[in-house]
């Protein structure tokens, strides 16, 4: 309860939460408000927003309803953000936990692998993965998860390094608990808060990565994602700029919401900021 109170004390965190709920409502109501396939031909192409009551946000250069794509795209963006983050955090936690707990050569080996991944710009690696495995929504999501785990691995490792010799861990060891139990049952729950905060950053990055891919027309063209709409709008950017601008605003709002919520969580979970 304390945590909730602390969270709501910060206005940016509240704004973030409201925006995030808004995006979630959009995703949830997409089928209800726009029951047709959002990629279907809806009308004449390139109708300006607010000029035709049937298409509140206008149509894109393929004659698809932009509003329908924004609502359905919210699902795709949240799905990609959520799943990719889960994959990334899971890989990160596993590698970080093993490295931090066992130390020595396990740590050395795993950290060298992590560094190898970190030296590659993650967007370039993503391009390679998508080029090799194709650009379906599944491969894109998994690929984003795969390129964005190193930071969470380092974070988890740092937490483990500081926790592994605490009394409660020593006690567990004396009681004869097995490593697996110690890692996942005892240390991890205590190491988790900063990782959870970091997950919000990963989620924001994942959404941006998918949009960047789609902007280069390398994402899955068969789903209504915001990035795809921006990519399609690129062809008419100079005159019908709204085709790219509208999904751009949607991405901006979502990434901002996720980041603000993450920041709010961070502040609320940080004991040293309590008295501020």
């Amino acid at each position: 309860m304390d945590l909730v109170k602390l969270y709501f004390r910060s206005p940016p965190a509240v704004i973030g939460l409201v925006l995030l709920i808004l995006v979630l409502v959009m995703a949830a109501s997409a089928d209800f408000l726009y029951p047709r396939d959002p990629l279907a031909l809806a009308g004449r192409p390139l109708i300006w927003p607010f000029s035709n009551p049937r298409f509140l946000l206008g149509t894109d250069n393929s004659g698809r309803d932009i509003a329908a794509q924004i609502f359905h795209g919210a699902r795709i963006s949240l799905l990609i953000g959520g799943v990719a983050t889960a994959i990334s955090i899971m890989i990160g936690i596993t590698i970080g936990a093993l490295a931090g707990y066992y130390g020595a050569y396990v740590d050395t080996a795993l950290m060298r692998v992590t560094e190898a991944f970190q030296t590659l710009p993650n967007f370039l690696l993503l391009l390679v993965l998508v080029a090799v495995f194709g650009s379906t929504i599944t491969t894109v999501t998994v690929a984003i998860g795969i390129v964005s785990w190193p930071a969470s691995a380092r974070l988890t490792r740092a937490e483990f390094l500081s926790l592994r010799n605490r009394e409660f861990v020593q006690a567990g060891r004396t009681l004869g608990l097995r490593d697996i139990r110690l890692i996942f049952g005892e240390i991890l729950p205590n190491a988790l808060p900063p990782v959870i905060v970091y997950a919000s950053v990963v989620m924001a990055i994942a959404i941006l990565l998918e949009s960047a891919l789609a902007f280069l027309k390398l994402s899955d063209p068969n789903v209504a994602s915001w990035g795809n709409l921006i990519g399609a709008g690129r062809d008419v950017l100079r005159v019908q700029w709204y085709v790219s601008a509208i999904p751009g605003i949607a991405i901006l709002v979502t990434v901002l919401a996720v980041s603000l919520v993450g920041q709010g969580l961070n502040d609320a979970l940080n004991p040293r900021l309590k008295s501020r």
Partner: protein, 534 residues
């Protein structure tokens, strides 16, 4: 501000018709030597040698470096380049070319009939995508002396056909750099071509640029005017338009810009946007069916797909005045060969489409989907990607789920024509003055695997093969035209590919350019007389 696409299309058409040609005081101007001409290069190909791949994407570069025996003049008539004169024997089986003396390759070796012999027998006949069909009955090229090449055919070759084909399918490669150097297709010279043309190859940085410079030893006196040509690889069409406005690109050929940007640049006095100089490159949008899919091997499914597309709607709303309903593989601009009766036309009829699919046994399953198809759109031209989306949207309405697979230029050619890893593909078919040049190869069986823009659909029809072969060897013009009528009707009946839209390419060029767009295939030509005003 609130300019709809339709308005944009109207404006662009008005521009195209009013600014047919920049009739400025050309006569008083003295050609200026020097200058760098920059060209928008939208889709990289796998190589640059036009003796091996007939496509505008290769000619736009290779056509300045290598030359062909014959090109087209301003009136569209054959004019000698590497050949000075030609004559056919009365039986049509022997055609003799007298070659131009004193021509040297860029590496200094003399150009002779041995080069023509090697290129014709090893490249045009065996590898070149349209050449394999055109030269099917070529048995030998004799070289009685270094400046005479005698083409011998098993069946008569109409001289008129050969002369209309050679501007595209008559590029000569240097024998000494290919013979005995292993697989011709893999020869590194293909990426650093050596020719006899007005410009010498300098550098190719993949994904960046290609550079060619003035050939000081060019055989035409006082040519070329330009110091250099730089082709900048810009895959993003909107970025290419921005670079034109910034003065970094002078010329964007073959509808390389978006429709809305073309309209915008057309109103800018710094540019000329026009269809001029592209008369020899009429094109049709295609849908290619892969017969390896059992669904598509069924004629009823192919017809259903054609009936499911509202082509007039697409043209009116997406393409505008530069496009019209296509009637078959031979476009209506071909006055010599356009048949009076084109056979079945497949008007938009969703109910009939659904009925045909039902009859073929593909009933809607869960969610109303009958089956799924992978569609590969060629990455050239905004119209292709718009058409791909339109196909996806239209077929969803009759229960066929279409997954669009995006690729780059090389990837598209490889997946469709080499790996056959597609169900549907859509791109352009280019008609080049005579159906036997680049049209019938889309239908004739027996094309070498991997040859782009040829029949790779796993579709064999002895009837159409016979029509194609007979027409290609028919010396009588009226009989030839009648045979091509049969060809079009058969193609539209069997529908191995569908050609529902007909267009002419649009180019955007800087108003500083002179002597441009002055031949029917200007974008592909050698630009020996092109110059840039101050």
């Amino acid at each position: 501000m609130d300019m709809t696409r339709r308005a944009a299309l109207k404006t662009s058409a008005a521009i195209a018709s009013s600014v047919l040609f920049p009739m400025r005081s050309f006569a008083q101007e003295t050609p200026r030597k020097g200058g760098v001409f920059t060209v928008h290069y939208g889709a990289e190909q796998r190589q640059l040698n036009p003796s091996l791949q007939a496509s505008t994407g290769v000619y736009i570069i290779g056509g300045k470096i290598q030359e062909q025996l014959v090109d087209l003049d301003a009136k569209g008539q054959p004019v000698g380049v590497l050949a000075e004169s030609w004559e056919a024997s009365p039986d049509g089986k022997t055609i003799t070319f007298k070659l131009r003396p004193g021509v040297t390759w860029h590496d200094g070796k003399p150009f002779t009939s041995a080069d023509v012999q090697f290129t014709a027998m090893e490249m045009w006949k065996k590898i070149l995508n349209y050449g394999t069909t055109l030269q099917l009955f070529l048995t030998a090229v004799d070289t009685p002396d270094p400046l005479t090449a005698v083409f011998r055919y098993e069946r008569p070759m109409p001289l008129n056909l050969l002369l209309r084909a050679l501007p595209d399918l008559g590029y000569v490669s240097p024998r000494h750099l290919y013979e005995g150097k292993g697989d011709i297709r893999q020869n590194p010279v293909n990426l650093a071509p050596v020719g006899t043309g007005p410009f010498k190859f300098v550098q190719y940085e993949r994904g960046q640029h290609v550079i060619a410079e003035r050939n000081a030893n060019y055989w035409r006196a006082n040519a070329p005017y330009l110091d250099r040509i730089v082709w900048r690889v810009v895959t993003d069409r909107a970025a290419a338009a921005a670079q034109m406005e910034a003065g970094q690109i002078h010329y964007s050929p073959f509808s390389g810009l978006t429709i809305s940007d073309s309209a915008r640049l057309g109103k800018d006095p710094r540019f000329i946007v026009s269809t001029k100089g592209n008369e020899g490159n009429a094109r049709t949008n295609t849908i290619e069916f892969n017969f390896r899919r059992k669904e598509l091997a069924d004629i009823r499914v192919r017809r259903a797909i054609a009936h499911a597309l509202d082509i007039p709607f697409f043209i009116e709303n997406f393409l505008g005045d530069f496009a019209k309903r296509g009637t078959g593989p031979i476009p209506s601009v071909s006055t010599d060969f356009y048949p009076a009766d084109n056979g079945p036309q497949y008007p938009f009829d969703k109910k009939l489409a659904a009925k045909l699919l039902d009859e073929a046994g593909f009933k809607p399953g869960a969610g109303g989907t009958r089956f799924s198809l992978r569609l590969l759109p060629a990455p050239w031209g905004e119209d292709v990607s718009l058409f791909a989306t339109f196909i996806q949207q239209s077929l969803a309405d009759v229960g066929i789920k279409v997954d669009i697979v995006r690729t780059d230029g090389g990837g598209f050619l490889k997946q469709v024509y080499d790996d056959h890893a597609f169900d549907l593909a859509t791109g352009w078919h280019q008609y080049r003055n005579d159906p036997a040049v680049s049209t019938t190869v889309w239908y004739r069986s027996g094309q070498p695997k991997g040859a782009p823009w040829t029949n790779q659909w796993d579709w064999t029809d002895p009837t159409i093969d016979k029509i194609i072969d007979d027409a290609a060897t028919e010396v009588d013009a009226a009989k030839r035209k009648a045979l091509y009528g049969d060809f079009v009707r058969r193609a539209n009946t069997e529908l191995p590919i569908w050609t529902p839209i007909e267009q002419i390419f649009l180019t955007a060029i800087s108003a500083k350019a002179r002597n441009h767009s002055n031949t029917p295939r200007w974008g592909s030509s050698s630009w020996h007389d092109l110059w840039l005003a101050e």
